[in-house]
Each structure stands twice: as C-alpha cells, then as structure tokens.
Symmetry: C2
Subunit: 267 residues, 2 copies
C-alpha cells in the first residue's frame, strides 16, 4: 500500500499517535530478559498493545545501530511484527550527496521496506531527490526540531527576514511534485507552529516533543484542527513505551495510548 494512503486512511479515523520505538535495554521491564531477545520481545509487546490505535511506528535507528549488526537484525524482525496498514518510519535523519543518498534510500525503502524516512535538509535538493524518487514513500524533512538548540541555526534570521526553518519548509514545496514530502516540526515550538500552519499545508507533518520533552499536546492538536490540516502524526516515545516497569506493562501501554488518542480527539 502507498505510504500516502496508509497515513490518510489512519488519520481520517482520528488516529494520529506515532509510537516511537526508542528501545533502550536499560529502561525496559526486567521480565523481558527472560526471553532470548529482550529488545525484540519488548517491541512485540509494545506493538501488540498499541496497534489498535497507532497511526505509525517510528524506529529510531540510533537505538539499534549501537549494537552493530545484531541491532539491524532487530529492526528487520520488528518490522515484520507491524501490521501492514500502519505507517512505518525509519527515523535515521538521512542526507548525503546524491550517489550516497541513493544508497540510503535503497537501504530504508528496498532492503528494510519502510514506508517513510526522516531526512536532514542541510545539503539541499540533490541530497533529497533519491528519496523523493520513491513516489509511494514519504520523506519527512527536518524543519524545526524539538530540541533546545534548534535555535542555533534553524531559527537564525535570513536576509529576507524569515527564519531558516521557514525557508526550508517553503523550499520543500518545490520538491513535492510526487506529493510525498513531510516535515518534522517539534511540538515544543508552540508559537512557531501556530505561525507556520500556512506553510505546512499539503505536507505530512511529524511532531516529536510531546511526552518526555514536554510539548503541549492540546495546543498542537488545536493548531491543526483550526487549520483543517489532518495529516499529522504526534510522536510519543518515552512517555508511552516506558509507562511501567512491572507486569502491568501491557495493560498500561493500552491505557496510555488510549489516553493520548482520546486527548487528541477531544481537544
């Protein structure tokens, strides 16, 4: 199924929660260590107890790559557990010169069969094109990120008065002929988000920063509702997947995603 169809099907059902699989063995309930592959078993439990409400699963490559080759096997095995109708996101912040980006695109889309990827726009169009050439896959470009230091460069003022991140988001419109562009916009930047709704149109929006990073969920959701922009994903990683350390973990996963889902739909 096309990535665009997946996300649109799910958001039209009011599903906007993206589950961030930032799985850290030091933070997962101890009972998973009774299994031969604790990280994979943990991911399985998260998926089984959230897939009824999840719009996407975002696999943060850093948390797997740190284990080298075996970590990449866990990514492959985790992808096999995700229901076919739910969007998968390779959160790898890619971006390199053309022939290298082509390899990265082939890696995430051909080898791993992800539906979408996150990419860093700093190197410009020719670094993005190999990803965009996969018409049925979505590439989420970093616009304004959720971390404090996003102000260092992304919020720098340009000669024309805009912030750099506004130029980036606007430029992406020219890259969107396949309607497969997305933007990463940190939910921690509430005022910037409200000011940017106009330039976020016609792109898929991935919003990290809710939960452990303290973005205001209600305010973010209202920005989208007020703009009639429905194709947005609210990423929740730590606040969801580390909701409990005990045997009540599966139940609490269900309750936590349900709470986020309700808050989004009742905002």
């Amino acid at each position: 199924m096309k990535a665009q169809s997946k996300i649109e099907n799910l958001t039209s059902q009011g599903k906007h929660v993206c589950v961030g699989l930032d799985t850290d063995p030091e933070k997962i309930p101890r009972y998973f260590f009774d299994y031969p592959n604790p990280v994979l078993e943990f991911n399985k439990t998260v998926i089984e107890n959230t897939s009824h409400l999840a719009a996407a699963y975002k696999i943060n490559f850093a948390f797997y790559e740190r284990f080298g080759a075996s970590g990449f096997e866990i990514i492959e095995q985790t992808l096999d557990l995700i229901p076919e109708n739910i969007l998968t996101i390779a959160d790898a912040k890619r971006g390199d010169i053309g022939n290298t980006s082509m390899m990265y695109a082939s890696s995430v889309f051909d080898h791993f069969s992800f539906d979408s990827v996150t990419a860093n726009p700093y190197m410009g169009y020719d670094s993005a094109k190999p990803f965009l050439d996969y018409k049925d896959k979505i590439t989420f470009f970093l616009g304004l990120t959720s971390n404090k230091s996003s102000s260092d460069f992304q919020k720098v003022k340009l000669a024309d008065g805009r912030h750099l991140y506004e130029l980036v988001i606007t430029t992406i419109d020219g890259w969107n002929s396949n309607r497969n562009c997305g933007v990463v916009f940190g939910a921690t930047n509430e005022d910037d988000l409200n000011r940017s709704m106009n330039i976020l149109k016609a792109k898929y929006i991935l919003l990290p920063g809710i939960g452990a990073q303290s973005g205001n969920l209600r305010s973010v959701v209202n920005a989208f509702k007020n703009s009639l922009h429905t194709d947005y994903l609210i990423n929740i990683s730590r606040a969801l997947i580390y909701c409990s350390n005990g045997n009540d973990f599966p139940d609490l996963l269900q309750r936590t995603i349900s709470d986020y889902h309700s808050e989004i739909n009742n905002s």
Copy 2:
C-alpha cells in the same frame, strides 16, 4: 591513540589522502566474486595497497547499511584490517536530539571504535555535544558540502550578511573546548574555501569533492599551504577505489594513491 594525535602525526609526514571506502559490489573487479565476501576482500585489497600513504579511511555507512545487518558486519571486519596508526572516519552524517545522539556516539565510538565521525549541524549544539564529549575522538561537522545543491541552504544569506555555512563554521569554535572539532568543506567550492581559510583555523578539515566530483586538487592544497593550516584530509573515493576493473587493480591502487600523494606534496 587519540584521534588528534593520529591525524597530526600523519599530516606532519605529508600524508593527507583520505581513502573513501564507498564500496559498491556493482563496481568492483569481478575477480573478487571468487571470494566468500567480495566487499570485504575488496576493502582488504584497497587497504593493503594504500595504507603506506593513507592518512585516513572513511567508511561511508550508506554503502554497507543497504545490506542490513550483514553490511554492519563488513564495517566491523573492515575496521579490523586498518592499521592502528591511521585515522578511521565513520561517514554517517549524524545529528539528532541529545539522548539519540548519545546512542549514535556510543555506536560509532564505543561499539565500532571509530576515531571520528561526520555530523550534520542543522539541529545545533545539544545534538552535537554527545559526540564532543568523547574528548579523544574527532567530529567533522558539515560546513559547506561538495554537492551542487549545497547552495540551497548552506549558501543562503543571513541577516548579518554572512552565509549560513560561515555561521555554522564560526559557531563550532564555541564547541571546540576539547580541540576535537572538524569541518567538512567541499573541495568543489574553491572560492568559498579561499575566503574561509581564516574561519577554518584550529579545526581538522575533511575535503570531499576531489576526483569523481571534479574539485581542483592543486588549488585546494595551495589554500592550506598559504594559510599554514596542515590538518586537512583530501578524500578520494571513486577515483581511487575504482581505478581499475582488472587484475592490475592492486598495482593501480598503489600508483593512484602515490600520484595523489605526490601532487599534494608538490603543489
């Protein structure tokens, strides 16, 4: 050995060639397919025939990751073949929020034991700090890259009249308390390089863009010689590792790196 010591030892001997291991099975001589692991055997031949003159080996993650888990095993096996005194560079263009960058840093420095990494500065200081905290490792931040579209954002004019890449390179000076910052500067940007020599001081410089990308080697080397800046690495990937398709490959590797080495030292 500290990464800083490695690079300084080698450049003080006039060694500046960084060998880019962008190994693509479709481009390597056919005879490597007689071996059980053609890519690894190819890398072994490249290393054996260039290590007498190489200052660094740069492993471009994209070319390995496309094979998933098995590609990461080849990275590990390749690193074992590189002599201890030569700098190793994880060319992975990293950069993410703090807790994720910490994982990436742990991956390249603890798991793989690379001496250095390339990083994307777009997310700012807190995305870079986990790399910089490894005092004896070098982080090369993208300044101005070698691709054509580097002009899209890196060369945008800021309100203060500078280009974005100049702000990035200058800002990095404030991150350099451990003297472990480097800058990636595309050799294809000859005029910008000459204008930037002043802000490149006291940082290790990695220059892609010579060879297949057509940067002017002599002009780049002279910019450094004129500024008495000795800690620079000229990356050569395709023009070196694909120098021959036949049985003369080992000999031609030696001749090609020797030619680059001589041209650098006689410029």
